[in-house]
Amino acid sequence: MARRLILTVIVFLLVGVVVFAVTRLGGGDVVALPQRIAVDTTCPVAGCMQPDGACHAAGPYPTPDGNFLMNCPRVVGCTDTNCHAWDRIEGMRSKPSEASMNLWILAPVLLVVALVAMVYAMEKRPAKNKRDGE
């Protein structure tokens, strides 16, 4: 079992490396391995810098105060102290988007599976009872 586990982990790692390599091939230099957070590290979403070097990726987020200069990560050269990316950080980045429709797909699927299982059980139980009676 240990040998199988090691081989499986190797296969998973290989697929992961290929996924990263293909994305880098398509995405160019923007796609890179995770980098250590430093004083001059910019936020991957908003392009802003934290003076103390601590990334606010998981919050708390700085609020626009008219002094905090943000560099847009999408439009090269665009900088502003009141960047319109704040909505994006405070919305999508900080809490899951409702566009994540997994709940709305999973819930009906589970409901259908449960109903099918119930109907199947109800159909089979009388047959079993009948056979037990005989």
Binding site: R4, G16, P34, L103, K128
Partner: protein, 160 residues
């Protein structure tokens, strides 16, 4: 591995997946950590079926088994796309270790798309193996023990 062992791993994987697939309810931190747990369970799930995978590669003539294997390979690829892209847009785990990942605007749509695709593939995966699951239903086992045997034969290697 025994059938009960396989069933426990499958049920565990399903429950963990349902939790991981709903960040809207759990929040990002739970989503990220539970997804790491899901990766571990998926590795164990694949390792328990390793012999079946190798055997199917060797005997590619059987259409149903080959189709199942193709589905499983597609699921593995999409699963790893989802995991890698998930790590690259991580808000908790990667920053916790003092790292940040560039390319958010490339990885984020990939993560969303692969998550939807993974859900679809996992549903198909479950349906493809419905006979094995059905054979384990208590009333079906009581009704007809040979059904269980049929189910096992369909899942050659699943219960080794």
């Amino acid at each position: 591995m025994k059938t009960s062992g396989n069933l426990i791993i499958d049920l565990l994987a399903t429950i963990i997946y349902i939790v991981a697939a709903n960040p809207l309810i759990t929040g990002w931190a739970v989503h990220e950590w539970v997804s790491i747990g899901l990766l571990l369970v998926f590795v164990v799930h694949c390792a328990t079926h390793f012999d079946w995978i190798v055997s199917t590669f060797r005997h590619r003539g059987e259409r149903v088994r080959t189709a199942n294997l193709a589905l499983d390979v597609a699921t593995l690829i999409v699963f790893m796309v989802c995991m890698v892209s998930g790590l690259m847009v991580s808000r908790h785990i990667v920053p916790l270790f003092g790292f940040v990942s560039p390319g958010y605007f490339i990885w984020n749509p990939i993560h969303s798309l692969s998550a939807k695709l993974l859900l679809a593939l996992l549903i198909v995966h479950g349906v493809a193996h419905w006979r094995w699951f059905a054979s384990l239903l208590p009333w079906r086992r009581a009704l007809s023990p040979q059904h269980e045997q049929e189910g096992m034969e369909d899942e050659t290697g699943m219960d080794e």
